[in-house]
Symmetry: C2
Subunit: 455 residues, 2 copies
């Protein structure tokens, strides 16, 4: 029997198992669900064992546990492939907006509704079931496999960096695939080539020691809110170019091929603007909206605070003014270097009559960018094209996924996102669902991936 | 007997009366003291009657009452002189910072301590006592006199404009003197030639309909907080010049004489900076600190609000950003014209990708500036020089006194501040006090003023 035939034969059971998995309310954010996250970890470890990997085990972290399993019998000449996923889910609130109870999964047509169905329980099951199909039908796997599932992705994986750092030998792999990922549509696969990194800064401009009467002082001492405005305005030109000295220095320019890949992905300006309700698109000159979002760095003012903010008017000269700033970085920008450039720029552009200081520094992350010609990505591309029947889009994300940076930092490996969620599946929202047909496709995709990687 | 001799003879009683007046807790801001404000009005009207003006009466407004009295028997060839003051006081909180109870006045040396002692009960008494001294010793007054005292100055005189507008005939006068005013020091008199007016604006910059994920949108739609910073920065040069088109057009330039008068008033930069704790002075190029504060217009950002303002960082792209702005105006700037210039400037400098709107418009006030050679001011100068023995400083104020604008608007008369408070007398603060010696001097000053005005 082929692995494909096995998957077809077992599919009804696999759907039932996914339903059982979704029934566990493994909400990592809520203390009252701590036991459920643990229960989900144990369920996963047990399921991996039944798939044929005996050493599956739940390991503790400083917070929610991880599940680890490996099958290392393919031989030293075969690569070691890690597959990542997560078994925790977002809170389901507000319950009243769900058409069926979030932890009592319901099948409607091709869809299974329930919190975590798409993010990431269906996705996380697919490599386990692919491993089972291969082990049950061939008695072995084509490559060495490490399964690494976590229970705190939805709260930002706070304890994962320490766990990975402390278990580098255990987790060491030649390639990493993440079963937590998106496809463009059920018909159109995609590969995510890059995620943005981040640098953070809070600027505090100080004038007088406390808020002052504007009539007694406004005309003769510098206004921190105006000074802050001048500092911020110095950081970006009116046409959208970031004017912080050196900011773009390390950005890897987009090649013609990069731009062609991005342009191939359908884009509808009206649809994009409808998402946010913004009156127009706007950004770095010389780039398309998609290029700005996916492949160019950004500097965002996240918040402003100064003086009187209540109703009406108050003739106050503020003591201080604050701006929170985050920069979304692209390869090969370095968050520490960018932070230092920002700080130097702000100091240089702080006008006379106020002082400036910085708060909440640090906590940045490195941009993630799969190198061109990366072998794991090449194989993933082939598999997606075969399973979906069309060439995958090459996309990038304007956001950041900390776990991808963590794996890159400690293991030195660019993970390839190889998951099956779609943007319309209400991730993090009421009425989350997974597509049963795509769940099945994902299982085949992991079988083919492992086979191809095995040569 | 001369009026001076009378004042000397009655002084002990006059101090006792001031103490009785301060005992009435006429706090206009506190509803529980409403009856006390009324009581103070009645006390004042009664006191004016005893001074010899029989028609003194308490008149209602939409809020706290006023006291009005007139003596119009000097003849049609004599000017009619209005004297203004207020019988309400600031709240006394925090009580625990007072060395003696605020409404149980205590004499310590030359000082009477109590809430309202200086602002404005001692000041308000001086014209009443001067009128009494003249009437008791000469049987008449050298000019026609209208006394007009209000009970809501400390809450911004909300009902006074309507009252003045509805009683223009009653209040009509050739000259107005305000017994609510300051002298430089007990030894050094001053005249206030100008008060600033005001224009107010709230700028609201709108981007997306709600706060957005900065990774999903930051790079491709305009950031309202950055746009607001750019708008604000366009309104002032880095060296402090207001760059709103036309802003300075109507400003009456400082003459060499004006500048010399201002320069004559002692100024200590370190002392000035210590008041607010600002690191340096800063303002319009080409002017001294005093000139900026007293005689040049200002544009102040009073508050900023946008996006996330809590602790730490949040990768939000704000939906909107707000700035509250007030401009302090000097003669002959017009608040409506300035508002319109600001609005036109903001519209012109709003960058691409956001929209702008304005809230809380209106409520401005006209700058007040005594014309050069103003006859009431000339007489006041002479009197101050005689009573204090030195030439008064000619000063201006960076603040605004709405009642002065109200009297100018409806009666067409520039009021001359002719009061006896000093900056060190803890006005609006714990341990407010009035100086007994200056209280006596103020009585003489009003006697001389009325005599001189009578020719």
């Amino acid at each position: 029997m082929t692995a494909e035939a096995w998957l077809d034969q077992e599919q009804k059971r696999y759907v039932d198992e996914l339903i059982a998995f979704i029934r566990i309310p493994s909400v990592s954010a809520k203390p009252e669900n701590m036991g459920d996250v643990q229960k989900a970890a144990e369920w996963v470890a047990e399921r991996v064992k039944r798939a044929g990997i005996d050493n599956a085990r739940v390991l503790p972290t400083a917070g929610h546990p991880v599940v680890y399993a490996d099958w290392m019998h393919a031989g030293a000449d075969k690569p070691t492939v890690m597959i990542y996923g997560h078994f925790d889910v977002q809170p389901a609130e507000p319950y009243e907006l769900w058409d069926s109870a979030p932890f009592e999964p319901e099948i409607r047509g091709d869809r299974i509704y329930g919190r975590g169905a798409s993010d990431d329980k269906a996705g996380m099951m697919t490599p386990i079931l692919a491993v089972e199909a291969l082990l049950k039908t061939t008695g072995k796997l084509p490559v060495n496999v490490k399964l690494f599932f976590e229970g705190q992705e939805e709260i930002g994986s706070p304890d994962l960096p320490d766990f990975v750092r402390d278990n580098v030998d255990l987790l060491k792999a030649d390639m990493i695939f993440s079963a937590d990922g998106l496809q463009w549509t059920p018909e159109q696969p995609m590969l995510v080539d890059a995620l943005k990194g981040m640098a953070k800064m809070e600027i505090v401009v100080q004038g007088p020691r406390s808020d002052q009467h504007s009539g007694l002082h406004g005309a003769a001492i510098a206004n921190p809110a105006m000074a802050l405005a001048q500092i911020l305005a110095s950081m970006k030109s009116l046409d959208g170019l970031i004017t912080v000295e050196g900011f773009y220095d390390d950005v890897i320019p987009l090649s013609e091929e990069d731009r062609a890949e991005i342009a191939r992905v359908p884009y509808d300006e009206a649809e994009y603007l409808a998402e946010s309700g913004a009156p127009a698109t706007f950004g770095e000159p010389g780039y398309t909206t998609r290029e700005r979002l996916w492949a160019r760095p950004a500097l965002d003012v996240n918040g402003l605070t100064s003086g009187y903010q209540g109703i009406g008017s108050k003739t106050v000269h503020p003591a201080e003014a604050r701006a929170k700033i985050t920069c979304r970085l692209v390869a090969a920008q370095d968050p520490v270097k960018i932070y230092n450039q920002l700080e130097a720029h702000v100091r240089k552009h702080t006008p006379h009559g106020v002082t400036v200081r910085f708060e909440n520094a640090g906590g940045g992350s490195v941009p993630y960018h799969v190198p061109a010609g990366h072998n794991a990505t090449a194989v993933a591309r082939e598999v997606l094209a075969e399973v979906f029947g069309v060439e995958p889009y090459r996309t990038r994300s304007g956001g950041s996924i900390p776990v991808m940076s963590t794996l890159l930092d400690y293991l030195g490996v660019h993970a390839v996102m190889f998951g099956w969620s779609m943007g319309d599946e209400n991730l993090h929202a009421p009425n989350e669902f997974a597509r049963i047909g795509v769940y099945r496709k994902g299982q085949s995709a992991y079988v083919r991936l492992l086979e191809k990687l095995g040569g």
